[in-house]
């Protein structure tokens, strides 16, 4: 299997304790906001003399939110792009063990982002870094990185728990 998404084979949502609608509603809202901001930019540019170009900063921040919340969603369901050729052919217990190991690495990766991302946001707060477009405190935006990385870690752990209980993840 090549590492790209197969739209005809959507892995169904797993039975999670915290409903996935949490991420879904926020992702949908962020996507809609990005589209609306861009649309409003075009509309005001051609119809009025007002400039909304400064809102680009919000669009970019929303995209970071979409990237991490969507990652969280895909983590819970095991829908990330990966090479399954070797692993998926294994017997179920071995396959499960391999997936638990892979998830442990996911926890490590996003754990690093949560801890050091938090330090980055803290540095920006302490250093009074302002955003380049609107002059807001930059940590308002950067803080999404550690906070939402924690969400990804929790979704990975939830999947590990479901696998260890003998489920499909």
């Amino acid at each position: 299997m090549s590492a790209e998404l197969d739209p005809t084979d959507p892995v169904p949502d797993p039975p999670t304790r915290v409903p996935l609608s949490f991420e879904k509603v926020l992702v949908a809202a962020a996507m809609a906001a990005m589209a609306l901001i861009t649309f409003a930019n075009v509309a005001t540019r051609y119809l009025t003399n007002v400039s909304l170009a400064f809102t680009e900063e919000y669009s970019v921040a929303l995209m970071v939110v979409v990237a991490l919340l969507g990652t969280s969603l895909a983590m819970a369901a095991g829908r990330h792009v990966r090479i399954g050729t070797l692993v998926d052919g294994l017997a179920p217990p071995a396959r499960r063990a391999a997936e638990v190991a892979a998830l442990a690495l996911c926890v490590l990766c996003f754990g690093v982002l949560a801890v050091w991302g938090g330090m980055l946001a803290w540095d920006e707060y302490e250093y009074e870094v302002m955003s380049s477009g609107l002059g807001h405190p930059q940590w308002w935006y950067t803080a999404f990185l550690p906070v939402l990385s924690v969400a990804v870690v929790l979704r990975a752990l939830g999947r590990v728990a479901r696998l260890l209980r003998g489920g499909d993840g």
């Binding site: 590492a3 197969d6 861009t38 075009v42 969603l73 892979a102 990766c109 050091w116």
Partner: protein, 428 residues
């Protein structure tokens, strides 16, 4: 030593089924740690790696794909093309290719087009007398033109990584090679259909009137015009063009076809958000990998080594294509670009190749990889829809691979096939 650990760690995680994004990020982080570099480079580059305005085009073009998928444009395009082309040997197969090319002008990824077209044409092609493995091959090869015909997510990522290459310029540069690739695969498709008597078994057109089907299909046919026309006229940036296409698609879906509901809208936003996230997180974490290969000084020696092999221009291109064939078996287009471009661009610069043209030929190779067994994502999708194994397609798909390779060779030898359009459009 750290360099070896970086690549070995990445390869092991990749083959062990770890998500590509995590394999890239962790291997990079490990190398940064071992080389005694500051770990804060990791979050800084992850954040800065995705917090870029040009990247907003990716979620927006993914959303365009989701919207048009649900409005039922593919079905109406097939009905119109069928009414136009009529029945006969090879007719419906050619229709599938033409429709995939139009959908390619709306969507930005191959597998999505493979699914959209496969779901619409497979049943009628079976009725028309085409063998299922041949159908799967046709759909997969046709959908591969998608990442060449603008919009294309692979092109957006390429333009972002390569200074001096702009999204509008490479979009236009992909247009003629994409059309050429589509026409190239029609040749073996029609030839095989003639020789083996495929198609022409179903009743002629089933009473489809050209005018009636055209009135329905025109809305889909206009979508690429909205996207490219808006960008060309200077009305929109690529991101804005995508959002205008979303607005247009929603208008068609809600008002004209009345195929969409508010529930659909919510689901499209979630689906496009997650699909984009899966791409964006690879880009974000690949920036950590790139940071460590760059600061470890691995990239330049590899590029210098290849240049010093003395293979000449065409020899080097052949070598790069060979490497891409192997790597393309494991990785998708975007990941391939993220990992390999730091090495490939210095080589292209050393030979003074036009970087826009270079992006087009690399993408053509990746497109071919999408339907080259055994690891071929488009083919996997179309085989599942047609209900056949990938092995069964080999006798047919090899001819289409060959045809697209010839198209690629033409673009290599005549770079103007790619560069003429952006030049006359003043996109440098």
């Amino acid at each position: 030593m750290t360099g070896t650990i970086l690549f070995a760690g990445f390869a092991i995680m990749l083959l062990g089924g770890v998500p590509i994004a995590v394999a890239l990020g962790l291997a990079g982080t490990l190398a940064i740690f071992l080389a005694d570099q500051p770990i804060l480079a990791v979050p800084t580059n992850v954040y800065a790696g995705i917090a870029k305005y040009p990247l907003i085009a990716i979620p927006m073009f993914v959303l365009v794909g989701s919207v048009f998928d649900r409005t039922g444009v593919a079905l109406r395009l097939v009905r119109f093309a069928t009414a136009l082309v009529g029945a006969g040997r090879g007719a419906l197969a050619s229709v599938a290719v033409l429709v995939a090319m139009v959908i390619g002008g709306i969507s930005g990824s191959g597998p999505a087009t493979s699914a959209a077209v496969g779901q619409v044409v497979t049943r009628s092609m079976v009725r028309d007398g085409y063998p299922r493995p041949f159908i799967a091959s046709t759909v997969a090869a046709a959908a591969a033109t998608d990442i060449l015909i603008p919009p294309s997510i692979a092109f957006i990522v390429y333009a972002l990584l390569v200074p001096g290459v702009s999204v509008p310029a490479i979009f236009m540069a992909g247009m003629l090679p994409g059309i050429l690739a589509g026409l190239a695969i029609i040749v073996p498709i029609v030839a095989i259909s003639m020789l083996r008597d495929f198609g022409g078994k179903a009743p002629v057109g089933e009473g489809l009137s050209v005018w009636q089907t055209f009135k329905e299909a025109i809305w889909g046919l206009l979508a690429p015009v909205v996207i490219l026309g808006g960008m060309r006229s200077g009305a929109f940036t690529p991101t804005e063009a995508a959002v205008m296409a979303v607005a247009y698609g929603l208008f068609v879906g809600f008002v004209i076809y009345r195929t969409l509901t508010l529930r659909d809208l919510y689901e499209m936003l979630v689906e496009a958000g997650e699909l984009s996230a899966v791409i964006l997180i690879v880009i974000a974490l690949a920036s950590v990998f790139a940071w460590s290969t760059s600061t470890l000084g691995i990239v330049q020696p590899i590029a210098a080594w290849i240049i010093n092999l003395g293979l000449g221009e065409y020899g080097t291109i052949a070598l790069l294509m060979l490497a891409l064939i192997v790597i393309g078996m494991f990785l998708d287009g975007v990941s391939t670009f993220l990992i390999l471009l730091p090495v490939l661009i210095p080589i292209a610069t050393a030979y003074k190749w036009d970087l826009t043209w270079f992006g087009v030929i690399l993408t053509m190779k990746i497109a071919i990889g999408q339907f080259t067994p055994p690891l071929a994502v488009n083919l996997m999708v179309s085989c599942r829809i047609a209900g056949v194994t990938m092995e069964s397609t080999i006798p047919w798909v090899v001819w289409m691979i060959l045809a697209m390779f010839l198209a690629l060779a033409l673009v290599v030898v005549f770079p103007d096939i790619a560069l003429w359009l952006p030049r006359v459009m003043g996109l440098g």
